[in-house]
């Protein structure tokens, strides 16, 4: 109960600050749209090729945009005086991690709510019939991204070159997740003649569960002096 209340407190506080300042979300939505535009310009008007690559382009867009959100994960604490002071509250320290994961997940899903329809228009894809499946894959992929990304954001928070180090550390760790998300999205949108989608979705679920348990478990060590 204590864990849930403290997790909620962190999430509520971050959401309130984001809604008031709107610094992160506006920039991220704009950046995501820009990435998709650049991809579509780079590939050209070949509709078949765009459709073929859509899954990959969408998830690369999500990964790039999500990294912006991860970099801001502990910014409110740093501006307030330092993440370390948050640890002084009595109770479960993992609540800090879980609250931040929830915050990153919410922001990422909000960006995806704009990014997927925009991708549908730019890549000439009719995504509407696949909406339930796409939402499922987006949620699973975003959970994994937020779980791993928040963990590495905490790990790099005190580094001087954290803007550089965070993507360098987080992208290799995200390879299995991105692989599964890209292939599952592609199979859903382009058709799944080989019946591989279930396997990719299972990989997403397994990735989420394993990394959620491991990162939550070892998070207190990351914050230690």
């Amino acid at each position: 109960m204590d864990l849930a209340i403290r997790t909620w407190a962190i999430f509520w506080k971050d959401l309130l600050i984001e809604l008031r300042t709107k610094q992160g979300l506006n920039a991220m939505v704009f950046f995501a749209a820009l990435v998709l535009f650049l991809f579509s310009f780079a590939i050209g008007p070949d509709a078949a090729l765009l459709r073929q690559l859509a899954g990959g382009l969408i998830w690369v867009g999500i990964a790039f945009t999500g990294t912006l959100s991860l970099g801001r994960t502990f910014q409110t604490e740093e501006l307030a005086g330092g993440l370390q002071y948050l640890q002084l509250y009595p109770g479960e320290i993992r609540a800090i991690y879980l609250g931040k994961v929830l915050g990153n997940l919410t922001v990422l899903l909000a960006v995806e709510a704009v990014l997927f329809p925009a991708a549908g228009v730019l890549f000439q894809l009719d995504l509407w019939p696949h909406a339930p499946g796409l939402i499922g894959i987006a949620v699973l992929g975003s959970i994994g991204f937020s779980v791993i990304g928040t963990f590495y954001a905490a790990l790099t928070v005190h580094l001087r070159a954290r803007e550089l180090m965070l993507p360098l550390l987080v992208f290799p760790a995200l390879v299995p997740l991105l692989l599964a998300a890209v292939n599952a999205t592609g199979a859903l949108v382009l058709g799944d003649a080989m019946g591989r989608m279930a396997g990719w979705v299972r990989l997403l679920v397994a990735f989420d569960i394993i990394f959620f348990v491991v990162c939550t478990w070892i998070f207190p060590v990351v914050l230690e002096d």
Partner: protein
């Protein structure tokens, strides 16, 4: 008579704080060197010393924000190295830099602190805490618009949210007008009445002298003296006379 630092060792059987050979290094620089002292339950200890003497580092070690490089300290019998959760549950820290969210209002900052402390935030309780530090009318203001003095008051209100056995204050009188200083002294009095142990680091000696039962003088990370305010005054007077 001046008590030597070593005399702090064998006083009370169960002190609030017992530090033994506490040392902390930042890179190549030792911020604390073999500090040993005891603070009795309910006692108020003032830490004096020039900039870089190790006052804030010592407070941060007691608050479990920093782990000692060598030695250990026990807070209510719990090691600052291993039993941080037990210490944090009973300890409050007022920092010199502050830890407030600028884009939340004063009331929202207290609500957050309350939730994080495991206390159900009752609006009446939060408003009472603000009223006790004279911030009732600023309850709905964002902290971004607060003056430095108002921020200190809000931090004090946060300390008042839950019962504390150990209160650590880093420069509690800094940036405060005379009303503010009086307020801090009053709040300190309330903590003492409730039986809390208080450790404060301050440059404003006159205000800290009034509040302290004992004074610890730190220099270059070492504990140079541990004495009562009367002993400290007598020593300073002797020193001044000998220089004339």
């Amino acid at each position: 008579m001046t008590t030597s630092p070593a005399d702090g060792h064998a006083s009370s059987p169960s002190p609030a704080i017992r530090a033994r050979d506490l040392s902390r290094r930042f890179g190549h620089r030792w911020a604390l060197r073999e500090v040993s002292l005891e603070v009795k339950l309910g006692e108020t200890l003032a830490l004096f010393g020039p900039n870089g003497a190790g006052k804030t580092t010592l407070l941060r070690v007691f608050a479990t924000l920093l782990r000692p490089t060598l030695g250990d300290a026990e807070i209510f019998g719990h090691s600052v190295r291993r039993e941080t959760a037990a210490i944090r549950a009973r300890t409050g820290l007022l920092t010199a830099t502050g830890f407030l969210y600028d884009d939340l209002t004063a009331l929202e900052n207290l609500r957050f602190a309350s939730l994080m402390s495991g206390i159900r935030p009752q609006p009446a309780h939060l408003e009472t805490s603000l009223a006790r530090v004279g911030l009732s009318e600023a309850a709905g203001m964002r902290v971004r618009a607060f003056s430095t003095g108002m921020r200190r008051r809000l931090e004090l209100a946060r300390l008042l949210l839950r019962p504390l056995d150990l209160v650590l204050l880093d420069e509690p009188f800094i940036s405060l007008d005379s009303d503010g200083v009086e307020l801090v002294t009053r709040v300190l009095g309330k903590f003492r009445e409730a039986g809390a142990t208080v450790v404060l680091a301050s440059h404003q000696h006159a205000d800290a002298y009034k509040a302290a039962d004992r004074i610890a003088l730190l220099r270059n990370g070492r504990l140079e003296a541990l004495e009562t305010p009367a002993e400290a005054r007598a020593r300073l007077e002797t020193l001044a006379t000998s220089r004339r």
